[in-house]
Symmetry: C2
Subunit: 500 residues, 2 copies
């Protein structure tokens, strides 16, 4: 009887299965790169030190390899567009999904579910999980050797206590850096420790857990009035679209859900939005006034101030005011990540990786930078583009077709595209900006730039455009379905309040 | 302009809002119980020690208070059935939702989403968030003073680094202990540290994150064959319904999703189910054989063995066999929790809180125990009921109507029900058992007991019954909709593989 299978099977599989390492193509390009074997960090304390290993340079008869660092808007749009008959695609990123960032604020209060805004990379570019030479690696990039065309990486093992990080390296033919930016703290003490950013799904999860925790804790017998007010004071620093949308969602959550389902504490919860200048500074003046009015009407307090110091339970403003808080969300914009800072390459104004009109890093062959981590060099005479999803997406799309063209013209392999004509340079055309400001209200600004004239809408129609536009831009049909269903169930049943 | 509101508003709200502590009913029963003020644990190191505070005993003109400890099947079914015109309901639990446990195994691999199996208590019994005398407290029970009719609690602040736990106490008129059981480790070393249980949503989340992490790590260049086999070896210990269902889901995930979306490593992943005796021992013999055949056919290795020791990367069996693993799920059944063990009350066989036929703790007035934490005393002559959702649910329902009857007869307040007729005792009628064994296959055993005769089905029809039965038993319409949609999208698009 199969059930009585001898245990020997278990004990022997460790040995007997090892020689079965047969899949012929699986290891075709997996060999040790000896010049990376100087360091001996490894994971199993019981075995001898394992050396740096990795993907060797491709041979001329093999497909050239595009290495994409990062899995944000730019990198994912690029991978989606890459012709996998021409190239193998390798992606290195600490997360295996793309976040549909414009809808992230809605997940913090349960309007949308987290998974509805996360798109697995394996669905965006199926080759990475199917093709023998294409891979996704859950890892961080630790260094780039542009001369040798090699990137060093280290695995992300967060959530596993029994594994140490593992180092490896990947030789590339084309390197696309799309590592994004990181939230700016302006060197203010305590921001990293106490504030929550709003850039990844785990940030939204943390905000949701903390908000629900504070709502429940403030109901406990014996909590002082002062402490209740503090616990339920939600402070948002930064009045850009993210901060405004999150404030709007929060006030909507309070008006619709907290009032019904946390009746005992509903009079204590408050939202304050702190901004040093104007909110939504990139939007049309009338829209800004409309947003200000809507937010104020829905109970958000707008405060003009500069944060000086952040402590565990209170913020200190420049003028000495103390603002106690229970939840602090930080959305003051982004700046270059420390990895980008560490790269010894010419930089654009603002410290991004300097690129030319074809999104190339001019001094380095076969290297490109797109999205928030790249910016036009001053020598190009073009302004650095704003850190927006639509810029990143357009650059990813442009570069995919550029690389496809290069590959088809025989310039796919390393150092072989020098004499090719790169064709039309990248030109950015702004399609407009959108932001919600709470229940059934949004702004749509279709002007080309801040100074230009054009259509600027506010109110229910804008909100409808906002929803429709984002729904159609959600990458997969699965998530499009889920976003629509989430919106419908939130409308019918209210938001989900289980704290899981 | 509203936007220029003076900052003084922020700085003054701390002070000026404090006297507004007006809501007249909100604090009607919130005062300090002086006899609990001996301990001075508190949360804010900067302020003077805060004393134990809490909900005082109800007065005769107030509604009596039912205090429910725990939010599992038993407690939630009870709360749902309690007549809130007769009673105030207070629930103390470390989680603010009920887990629909029969479907938990399906969430580990993405067949269902986590939120589809979590039901907020505020939806099961809306009074706890609306009525002035009803509450939900996110807290653990730390002690019961049965003479004084008081329970001591401590808040759960996990996930918040800026708050210490806060203690408070609640006086009750009726106390319902429905704290459930905890996973048995049989004192085996390393189980708690290295294995994952499958009882809460966060367990399922941990399993999913670890499984996806291991799938991705095993694809990294330079990982040895041996390490790959280890990382992708999923070991399940315990062959009860949970262990079998999880193994079935895993093998289905491997057959359908891993083979398509982790092509590079698909030949390495394996599932082993270790059980000391027979799998599904409570089921009909034919069904057991069917399950064994189905699991083996779908690639699950069934191993009869006893675990002796668990280390970070391997299990040691009693006969000396070493089983390396990447994921270890422990589902060997449950035993009394340490809190139940600590209660100095007469116990049933198996160490549960001893109860009589009316689910009362006989020696203690106004105290009841239902679900997995209670068991019939030997003196009742009845066997201790199995730790099943259907037992807990039936007991919760029975006790709700018993308490409603008592309340209406004027026995709701503490120590006032002694002379009342409690009516019919609780009688348990087993409705049958169900378990899935992978894709489109399930077992349905409708016999009253192991020895009885009756209908026993296996195969697609059972699977259909299994799905339909659970779908109709999911508590809310919202979650019923989501479970149905999750099943449909998994069928059409496959499982979600983003690791968030």
């Amino acid at each position: 009887m199969a059930w009585f299978r001898n245990l020997a099977k278990v004990s022997s599989f460790k040995l007997s299965d090892r020689p079965r390492n047969t899949n012929p193509f699986l290891f075709s390009s997996f060999t040790f790169i000896s010049n990376f074997s100087t360091e001996s960090s490894h994971q199993k304390p019981s075995t001898e030190p394992i050396q740096y290993s990795g993907l060797l340079p491709t041979k001329s008869e093999e497909k050239p390899r595009v290495l994409v660092l990062g899995s944000g808007w730019a990198g994912c749009r690029l991978m989606k567009g890459i012709d996998t008959k021409t190239y193998d695609v390798v992606c290195v990123s600490p997360r295996n999904h793309m976040v549909f960032t414009p809808l992230l604020a809605s997940t913090c209060v349960g309007t949308l579910e987290f998974r509805s805004v996360a798109e697995p990379i394996g669905r965006i570019q199926p080759a990475i999980s199917k093709e023998p030479g294409s891979y996704f690696f859950l890892a961080n990039c630790t260094g780039i050797d542009t001369d040798k065309h090699v990137v060093n990486c280290q695995t992300v093992t967060e959530g596993s206590d029994s594994l140490d990080p593992w180092r490896f390296s990947i030789a590339y033919d084309k390197l696309v850096v799309s590592l994004g930016a990181q939230a700016s703290t302006f060197g203010i003490r305590g921001v990293k420790e106490h504030a929550i950013f709003l850039r990844e799904v785990h940030h939204a999860q943390e905000i949701r857990r903390k908000l629900l925790l504070n709502l429940m804790l403030s109901d406990v017998p014996g909590i002082t009035e002062e402490e209740k007010h503090r616990l339920l004071h939600c402070v948002v620093v930064g009045g850009g679209p993210t901060g405004v949308e999150f404030s709007g969602e929060l006030s909507d959550f309070i008006m619709r859900d907290v009032r019904q389902r946390y009746v005992h504490v509903k009079d204590y919860i408050r939202v304050t939005l702190i901004e040093a200048n104007d909110i939504l500074s990139s939007f049309d003046d009338r829209l800004r006034r409309y947003a200000t009015k809507q937010l104020t009407k829905s109970g958000v307090r707008l405060v003009r101030g500069i944060v000086k110091d952040v402590e565990a339970q209170k913020i200190l403003l420049n003028d000495g005011t103390e603002v106690p808080y229970g939840l602090l969300v930080w959305s003051t914009g982004v700046g270059p990540s420390s990895f980008v800072n560490s790269l010894e390459l010419p930089k654009s104004p603002g410290g991004r990786i300097g690129i030319d009109e074809w999104l190339r890093v001019p001094s380095v062959p076969d290297m490109f930078a797109i999205g928030d981590c790249g910016g036009f060099l001053e020598s190009t005479g073009k302004p650095v583009l704003p850190a927006l999803a639509q810029v990143a997406e357009r650059q990813g799309k442009y570069l995919a077709s550029l690389l496809n063209r290069i590959g088809k013209a025989g310039g796919g392999h390393a150092n072989s595209a020098k004499d090719l004509d790169f064709g039309e340079p990248f030109v950015y055309k702004h399609l407009g900006s959108m932001a919600t400001v709470g229940r059934y209200k949004a702004l749509v600004d279709l002007r080309q730039s801040k100074e230009a004239k054009g259509l600027a809408l506010a109110g229910f129609v804008s909100w409808f455009i906002w929803r429709s536009a984002y729904l159609t831009r959600v990458v997969s049909w699965r998530n499009r379905l889920y976003v629509a269903i989430n919106w419908a169930t939130t409308f019918v049943f209210g938001r989900d309040i289980s704290r899981i």
